[in-house]
């Protein structure tokens, strides 16, 4: 993220409205008042902190503030991997998440799905989570007919949906895909689907991308498929899981999209190369406004807490 001007003026480069400035002014003045209270060592009710977090998140939602993002190497490598695969490569996208994780993970799934289809890769969709199947169906219905009307089910993409078994599914599909998924979601046998010609197991895939943040998820894909079958794995994970995935980069995973920041970086890279997707919505980039302001407020409160602590300690020592 590029911070080349003070935060309160950052909105100037975006679609800032009078509402943005007024709201930022209110938050800023409120924080200054709290700093004063902290210096006076007066205890602040925790609900005041919640109120500020609410304001700092809701203001950029109501009056969008956007920032420019630059893809970091962990995200850029995932992007480059999809970009550099030859057309027609088989890419598996696994929706291993639920609605609770969707605000973070769905933007990544959208961006990578768009990217893979724009590159004319053959995309296989699946889910290790029962809740992922519904989100997968919604995503396909929302994006495919509108943005890729020329793509044909079975030839350019296919959804095999969800099957029960958690890690057990991975243990099987690493050597025999059709054993776990004999047919796609429309009960069409995989043997008769063009996209599966020459694909008998995960070993025949060119890339696996898993989206999620729970179990089974990214780690299980690395353990049971990526390393075992030497298949490149890229992961788009909820922020809480991202630190656990970093040790696997770059040898065991080709790229990591960590939380909404990872999604925003990927979207930024995507719209640089494929500007047509900028009009389709960039929820990751949009969410970075509330993220940034909320983080500034949290940092301010950490500073205030320390100020209050040291002021209090000095008073104690004087006594």
């Amino acid at each position: 993220m590029i911070f080349d001007v003070p935060l309160l003026l950052l909105a100037a480069g975006s679609e800032a409205t009078a509402g943005t400035y007024v709201s930022l002014l209110v938050i800023g003045l409120g924080l200054l008042a709290l700093l004063y209270v902290s210096i006076k060592a007066i205890e602040v009710d925790r609900r005041v902190i919640f109120l500020f977090i609410f304001l700092s998140v809701s203001v950029p939602i109501l009056f969008p503030i956007t920032f420019e993002e630059q893809a970091t190497p962990v995200v850029k490598r995932a992007f480059d991997h999809i970009e550099n695969l030859p057309e027609g490569s088989r890419v598996l996208l696994s929706f291993d998440f639920d609605p609770a994780m969707a605000p973070e993970v769905q933007p990544m799934a959208d961006a990578i799905m768009r990217h893979a289809l724009a590159k004319n890769h053959k995309v296989i969709f699946m889910s290790l989570w029962a809740t992922g199947q519904g989100l997968l169906d919604q995503t396909m219905r929302r994006i495919l007919p509108v943005e890729f009307p020329d793509k044909i089910d079975g030839r350019d993409y296919v959804s095999v949906g969800y099957t029960a078994g958690n890690e057990g599914v991975l243990n099987v599909i690493v050597s025999d895909f059709k054993k776990m998924f004999p047919s796609d979601v429309n009960s069409v046998p995989l043997d008769s689907i063009e996209i599966f010609e020459g694909v008998s197991s995960c070993r025949d895939l060119d890339l696996v991308v898993t989206f999620g943040g729970g179990k089974p998820g990214a780690k299980e894909w690395v353990l049971f498929v990526g390393d075992r079958a030497s298949v490149p794995v890229a992961v788009g994970v909820a922020a809480v899981v991202a630190p656990q995935m970093y040790p696997y980069f770059p040898d065991q995973v080709v790229g990591i999209l960590g939380g909404i920041k990872g999604a925003a970086e990927y979207e930024s890279e995507l719209i640089k190369q494929y500007p047509q997707f900028a009009e389709r919505g960039t929820p990751g980039l949009v969410m970075m406004g509330p993220q940034t302001l909320a983080h500034v407020v949290i940092i301010a409160f950490i500073v205030f807490g320390n100020v209050a602590y040291f002021v209090g300690r000095r008073r104690e020592m004087k006594r």
Partner: protein
């Protein structure tokens, strides 16, 4: 019930009904506008009920919490029945039964009786006198899981992770002169790569030393141990930062729902 509680509950009910009617009217183009209006309003009120805990514990929060737990449990139970029993088990045991459940039939295999028996044994846990029987299938599950995970973890989390720690401490080293003349702080530059590899090397070594308790943490060993603590603290800090980001994302998700889908304040 206190009078103030009755007033609050009445206000919430009235607001809910007003919102339901207004949302239903706004979905007039839909097949079933008032059902959609009800679902959106219910989702919004449940979100607000959960947020109300931030003010203080209250019956609205408790209702939302209990509803969530109940619905989740029911959802997974239904899913377990249809996905595991109906889809995976029944077609293996009886083609007639599979046809009755309208699920595609598979090759009959009576071996699938064994997991059924183990499943039933697990349910013995519900009985006080026969509860001990459930330990046998449980032991099998734990043993199977440990066994099947062992190879994966050994390869990915042990061997490959140790291999990933063996990083060159002098990346593309072509001498001091070349290093300083080509000095760059670019992310893929030699200096940053070397710094990164040194951090991995020193971090792993000092982290391991901190957890080595067979020797007293004094002198050089103690200093390395303290560096190990710092490394751990920085790691925990980074994890916490990510966690905060995740929580804020979820808050953004819910507030976006409230502002866009419910209140229609944004497009």
């Amino acid at each position: 019930m206190k009078r103030s509680s009755i007033v609050i509950l009445s206000a919430v009910v009235v607001l809910f009904l007003v919102s339901w009617i207004l949302k239903g009217a706004s979905f007039s183009g839909d097949d079933n506008p008032y059902l959609r209006g009800f679902l959106t309003t219910a989702a919004a009120f449940l979100t607000l009920a959960v947020f109300s805990f931030l003010y203080q514990d209250n019956p609205f929060y408790k209702f939302a919490e209990h509803l969530f737990v109940g619905v989740s449990a029911a959802y997974w139970m239904v899913l377990g029945f249809w996905q595991t029993l109906v889809r995976n088990l029944i077609p293996r045991l009886s083609s007639d039964l599979a046809a009755w459940f309208e699920t595609p039939s598979k090759d009959i295999s009576l071996w699938y009786i064994i997991p059924v028996i183990f499943g039933l044994l697990l349910l013995m846990r519900l009985s006080k006198s026969a509860g001990w029987i459930s330990r046998w299938p449980l032991a099998l599950i734990i043993g199977y899981t440990a066994g099947i995970n062992f190879v994966g973890y050994m390869r990915s989390d042990f061997v490959n992770q140790i291999a990933a720690t063996f990083v060159p401490l002098l990346v593309n080293w072509q001498g001091t002169g070349a290093f300083f003349s080509d000095f760059s702080l670019a992310i893929d530059g030699q200096f940053v790569m070397m710094l990164s590899n040194w951090v991995i090397f020193v971090g792993v070594m000092c982290g391991l030393i901190y957890f080595f308790f067979s020797k007293e943490h004094t002198g050089l060993f103690g200093s390395a141990s303290r560096v190990g603590i710092w490394i751990l603290m920085i790691t925990f800090g980074a994890s916490f930062g990510y966690t905060v980001m995740g929580r804020i994302s979820l808050l953004v998700g819910r507030l976006t729902f409230l502002f866009r889908d419910w209140l229609e304040l944004i497009g």
